[in-house]
């Protein structure tokens, strides 16, 4: 059981690396999805271990959430990059102090 938890942690860490290291917004977004799924894996593993279906309910909620998030997020990405026609996130640097 802790095997799956470790796996989840590893996937999450990989996703974390992706969020920071990627330059284009869409690829950052994909890394975020990876992180969400790692969390889901942990939920399901716990559900299995404790004999309680609540973990799976949580995972279901997360999936629904992710779907909504993707819809809105991609919409934002499309809108932003239509206005900019630049693909690098580093170019969105107008809020510098």
């Amino acid at each position: 059981m802790s095997y799956y938890l470790l796996l989840s942690a590893l996937l999450f860490a990989i996703g974390l690396y992706g969020v920071l290291a990627r330059r284009t917004a869409i690829l950052i977004f994909m890394s975020i999805e990876l992180m969400l799924n790692a969390a889901n894996l942990a939920f399901v593993a716990f559900a299995r271990n404790s004999g309680n279906l609540d973990g799976q309910v949580m995972a279901l909620v997360v999936i629904a959430l992710a779907a909504a998030e993707v819809a809105v997020g991609l919409g934002i990405i499309v809108a932003v990059f239509r206005a900019r026609s630049s693909t690098s996130v580093d170019d969105l640097a107008e809020l510098r102090g």
């Binding site: 938890l5 290291a21 977004f29 593993a45 299995r48 799976q56 999936i63 909504a68």
Partner: protein, 185 residues
């Protein structure tokens, strides 16, 4: 730990690494799709059948397809090249991720099954029992999710409306675009 677990684990990690490192965006997306599919099989093994099907249908089938559409619509597939303006980011990210994993691994190391595995009766994670839970104690959550999905739909539609008629790009944007011609590609 069965063979299945091992193989699944290797596949998951490999596809994840591929998804975060491949330069070609489409390739990365496809790697992620593979990751999700393997994850679905893991769900089946962990007695979450309903969830597994949902994973395939919604995540791999809808979300990732959406991603791939957007990538192919808007992006030059070889866009993510070079380290851009922050060369120190890659090593830092790797370091942070490593520390993170180690900390979490240490935290998880003491966790074991609550009951002996033999006695666990999850009823396979079938729709029936899951549904009873959803519309029982977790009803409010379900309702909230419904509202959320509605809001997301509206937002998505609004966001992709064409801009105000006559809106021009801001001077900074035009300047940037001129600059981008010289950025290392």
């Amino acid at each position: 730990m069965s063979a299945f677990d091992l193989i699944a684990g290797v596949l998951l990690v490999a596809s994840a690494l591929a998804a975060v490192t491949l330069k070609n965006a489409v390739h990365a997306g496809l790697a992620l799709v593979g990751n999700f599919l393997v994850l679905a099989t893991v769900y089946f093994a962990l007695e979450a059948q309903f969830l597994g099907w949902i994973q395939i249908i919604v995540y791999a089938g809808a979300v990732m397809v959406l991603f791939l559409f957007v990538i192919m619509l808007l992006f030059d597939a070889k866009a993510d090249v070079g380290t851009g303006r922050m060369p120190w980011m890659r090593p830092l990210a790797a370091a942070l991720a490593a520390v993170f994993f180690l900390a979490l691994a240490y935290a998880f190391s003491g966790v074991g099954p609550v009951h002996p595995l033999a006695e666990i009766k999850l009823a396979g994670g079938l729709p029936g029992p899951l549904g009873r839970l959803l519309y029982g104690p977790w009803l409010y959550v379900v309702l909230l999710i419904a509202v959320l999905l509605f809001a997301a739909t509206v937002a998505a539609v609004v966001l992709v409306q064409p801009g105000v008629r006559g809106a021009r790009k801001k001077p900074q944007v035009l300047e940037r675009e001129r600059e981008l011609g010289e950025v290392d590609r």
